[in-house]
């Protein structure tokens, strides 16, 4: 019981924090089910549910009643915390300090009923949530799954309604679904039920069909398997080809951004993931690629006026040259010394590009504009739906090179260096060449990304190349799974794509992003799609051999 109370208090603090940060109020504007439940309600409810659920799963009471009581207690405590906030807010003007402690928040929390009626109601709803959670816990696992995932789907549909509406509208006849499914703000009630049932049905079918299908597949002869796999690849490729047409303008834009980060991630993956050299200034090469493209092509400066394809090799070349040049001074540094020196390089490049001193050549604060788009025989890579193909080609090429490099002699040398520099050297690996190759390859990939980026935007500004990009790319490859090539793709989709989709929740985007980073690393330290070898190593370490630990 004590633990239930403790969790309730903790939950209450979280609840108050979420309210005071302004999330609750900001999210009330987004209705999930029109005029029935808003995202703000959902948030408060979800937090309560989460903590009650924690109580229920952590408690080991033998009796059912005890579980119920514990859950009730947690819910009640959390509601009491919120009531305290409201009472306190009525007494003192909290707003002098906490700008989001607005009267609107209080009236939201008391269900617009005023203090006398509102607070009992709040407490009651806390108890109710507790009871529901306990009841939910009693259900069989299958039913729980069938409830939870469709509910989550409804929530997602509610959050992404603008996007879905846009997609459906673009798909002709599906456009009529829109009116039935969505109102101007929020889903309609039949729409909600429909989505819930649809997802539940699909899930149920999947559960039933999964094992026979998988079993049948494993029983197939190898040759059929292979050809099936090839068909799969072919289908995947053809879907990739028509994707922008299917997804419409904005999702294509998101895809291009994700694609650029995949390119960057694949490059950094070589430096950090393969060779184990922690680079925090990777944005430098992105900037070099972009600026090389800009300087060589923009008529604004008028030095060269090349076209995209003529300038691209130079951008890559510059990437390689600078990769080596910046690589040499840091050859002897290790770990965090390397990290800070590279971070320094990133900043130096950004500052130089911004400086008044180099303004005649690099445009200074005003950037460089009028960078021409890429063209192939009259086909212009103008909007995101066209640039997508350029980036797709880049990603495929770089991905292929990455795959080949990983299994090459050089790739093995990189991994040896990652695991233990001294031993690698003792085994006859040329540290200098190996490290410089890593820097140069990484830089080249990044420069390609930068060059496409410049042509995509049509203008480059120094402000696009700050430290945050380097940090973001690092997060992408580590969240994806260090050293894993599919991991980079998954990581970029999760960390770049999702926040991009949620652009309208901008104020809380980074807050959620931060919390998710922490949670993800605690629950999945190996990343979303870990490299197989690496995964084995991690287990190895958990078995008690933590010798290798300090070196990873």
């Amino acid at each position: 019981m004590k633990q239930a109370f403790k969790l309730g208090l903790l939950g209450g603090v979280v609840q108050i924090l979420v309210s005071l940060v302004g999330m609750v109020m900001a999210f009330t504007h987004r209705e999930i089910v029109s005029e029935t439940i808003s995202l703000g309600h959902a948030l408060v409810l979800l937090v309560t549910f989460f903590f009650c659920h924690q109580t229920v799963t952590r408690s080991n009471f033998p009796k059912r009643e005890d579980i119920l009581v514990a859950s009730l207690l947690t819910g009640l405590t959390m509601a009491a915390c919120l009531s305290l906030l409201v009472l306190l807010g009525e007494l003192v003007n909290l707003r002098k300090v906490f700008i989001n402690a607005s009267p609107a928040l209080y009236s939201f929390l008391t269900f617009d009923r005023g203090l006398e009626a509102g607070i009992p109601l709040l407490l009651f709803s806390g108890i109710l949530t507790g009871a529901l959670t306990a009841f939910f816990h009693r259900l069989p696992a299958m039913v729980r799954r069938l409830l939870l995932i469709p509910l989550a789907a409804v929530l997602v549909a509610g959050i992404l309604q603008d996007l879905l509406r846009g997609i459906f509208a673009a798909w002709g006849p599906l456009g009529t679904i829109n009116e039935w499914l969505f109102t101007a703000n929020g889903m309609t009630i039949p729409g909600t039920i429909f989505i819930f049932l649809l997802v539940a049905a699909l899930l149920y079918l999947w559960d039933i069909a999964r094992s026979p299908v998988a079993g049948g597949y494993s029983r197939l002869p190898v040759k059929t398997k292979k050809s099936l796999a090839w068909t799969g690849y072919f289908l995947l490729f053809s879907i990739l080809l028509i994707l922008p047409k299917l997804l419409g303008l904005f999702l294509s834009e998101v895809l291009t951004i994700v694609g650029l980060f995949i390119l960057l991630g694949l490059g950094l993956n070589i430096v950090v993931g393969f060779a184990g050299l922690l680079d925090l200034g990777y944005v430098a090469f992105f900037a070099i690629g972009a600026y090389t493209m800009a300087v060589l092509t923009s008529p604004e400066l008028g030095f060269f006026n090349l076209n995209f394809w003529q300038a691209l090799p130079f951008a890559v070349l510059m990437g390689v040259i600078w990769g080596v040049l910046l690589g040499i001074p840091v050859l002897k540094m290790r770990g965090d010394y390397l990290a800070i020196a590279t971070l320094g390089f990133g900043e130096i490049i950004r500052i130089l590009v911004l400086s008044d001193f180099l303004r005649p050549w690099l445009g200074g604060a005003q950037g460089i504009a009028r960078i021409p788009r890429a063209e192939i025989g009259g086909f212009q890579f103008g909007g995101p739906q066209e640039i997508y193909y350029l980036i797709l080609a880049g990603c495929l090429l770089v991905g292929f090179i990455s795959f080949r490099l990983r299994d090459s002699r050089l790739g093995r040398a990189w991994m040896a260096v990652r695991e233990d520099e001294d031993v690698a050297q003792a085994m006859g690996i040329n540290l200098v060449a190996t490290k410089l190759f890593a820097f140069a390859t990484g830089a080249a990939f990044s420069a390609i990304s930068g060059a496409i980026f410049a042509s995509k935007l049509g203008s480059v500004y120094p402000h696009s190349f700050d430290v945050m990009i380097s940090i973001n790319i690092l997060c992408v490859i580590i969240v994806g799974g260090m050293g894993s090539i599919p991991g980079v793709i998954v990581g970029a989709a999760a960390l770049i794509g999702l926040p991009e989709l949620l652009r309208e929740f901008a104020e809380y985007r980074f807050l959620i992003y931060g919390a998710v980073l922490v949670a993800m690393m605690i629950y999945r330290p190996a990343g979303l799609w870990p490299e197989k070898v690496h995964e084995r190593e991690l287990h190895f370490i958990e078995d008690g051999r933590d010798e290798a630990l300090e070196k990873t």
Binding site: L17, L20, V21, G22, M23, K96, V97, F98, I99, N100, V272, L278, I328, P329, V330, L331, K332, R334, G335, D336, Y337, I340, A341, L343, G344, F345, E347, I348, I351, L352, L354, S355, D356, F357, V432, I471, L474, C475, I478, M482, E507, Y508, F510, L511, Y513, G514, A515, L517, V518, M520, M521, I522, P525, L538, I541, E542, D546, L549, E550, T552
Partner: protein, 353 residues
């Protein structure tokens, strides 16, 4: 002997020295040109040095937090900049209240002390929470993983404070006793600068003595040497790590208040740049090494203040203060070329870095 020397020096060494030498040469030429041009008098240089010392002492205080955490956990506590921000930002409301009630005017020293307590308290609380939530579950994970949680925690804290207190900034009230300047031997120094140099000097000395002399300090040092062995010797490793975070938080809270008093503005993003600078300072001095962090902080402050005028003005580069950070980082790289483990960081050299 000669043959041995030849074997040990490789082409890369020569290229590295060439790069380093060129940078050094440019710095020297720039300095000589600036000094011989004679635009700056000795008084100006002294001014630059004082400005640099004041800024550097604050960097040094923050850097201590980085370096101590690095010492015990071997990780970059990226969220330390938010520990630094949270203290003075929260304490602002106390300061504003005291100012509003007129108490700040009538009892300035006692009021400042209260504000300091709040600032240090909040920073320490945040630092401890951070350790408990974001780092403790990851003790056994590969080293880059806590780096990512640190980045995540940093985002989370920044935007939580933004949500709580707003995205604008708050201006610290003016404390009259800290305004104006002293004249020492015909040479002018601002009061607040003297106060911050003295205060951070004192605080650093106290912390250093704490680490060197007390039992807890010894235990912390033992943990940073070897966790397993110190656990065997009966040291509560977890508690020592928490203590380290708390000390780092205290120093950051104090540094934050000095910073706020010196520059008067607090906002949710204020920690980011000083954080990166302090981290640089810690590395410059040799990360994990406490005197190194102090030295690195002060050195960095000086470079930022003196560097642009001294190195670049003579080379005829316009708007040199825009390149301040670039100079600081170039000097950092230069030092790391010749001393790959920082100014005082020999001890850690290959084994742990």
């Amino acid at each position: 002997m000669l043959k041995n020397w030849r074997e040990r020096v490789t082409t890369t060494d020569i290229i590295m020295w060439l790069i380093g030498g060129t940078l050094l040469l440019m710095i020297i030429i720039g300095s000589v040109a600036t000094i011989s041009a004679g635009r700056y008098t000795a008084k100006h240089w002294l001014d630059f040095i004082v400005f640099g010392l004041a800024q550097g002492s604050i960097y040094a205080l923050i850097a201590m937090g980085y370096t101590m955490v690095y010492g015990v956990l071997r990780m970059i506590n990226f969220a330390h900049s938010e520990v630094f921000m949270s203290g003075p930002y929260t304490a602002y409301f106390v300061a504003a209240f005291l100012y509003g009630s007129g108490y700040l005017e009538s009892h300035p020293i006692f009021s400042l002390f209260i504000v300091l307590l709040f600032s240090m308290g909040t920073s320490t609380a945040i630092a401890i929470l951070l350790e408990r939530i974001a780092y403790r579950p990851l003790r056994q994970a590969p080293r880059l993983v806590p780096l990512i949680t640190a980045i995540g925690a940093s985002f989370f804290l920044q935007y939580t404070f933004r949500g709580l207190y707003g995205s604008g900034f708050q201006a610290y009230p003016i404390v009259n006793i800290l305004e104006g300047h002293f004249i020492i031997g015909g040479f002018r120094i601002l009061r607040i600068q003297l106060v911050s140099i003295l205060a951070s000097g004192l605080l650093m000395a106290a912390l250093f003595a704490f680490i060197q002399r007390t039992r807890i300090g010894k235990a912390i040092r033992a943990v940073s040497e070897d966790k397993e062995t110190s656990a065997l010797m009966g040291i509560n490793v977890d508690r020592m790590i928490v203590t380290t975070f708390a000390i780092g938080g205290l120093a950051a809270g104090a540094a934050g208040l000095l910073y706020a008093l010196m520059f008067k503005q607090v906002h949710f993003f204020m920690g980011f740049i000083p954080g990166i600078k302090a981290f640089t300072a810690a590395v410059l001095g040799g990360i994990g090494n406490i005197p190194g962090a102090m030295l690195g902080g002060i050195f960095l402050g000086l470079i930022e203040s003196v560097g642009p005028s001294l190195f670049l003005d003579g080379l005829g580069i316009i708007a040199p203060y825009q390149l301040k950070d670039a100079i600081a980082f170039t000097v950092l790289v230069l030092i790391l070329i010749f001393r790959p483990t920082g100014i005082l960081g020999e001890r850690l050299a290959v084994k742990k870095a």
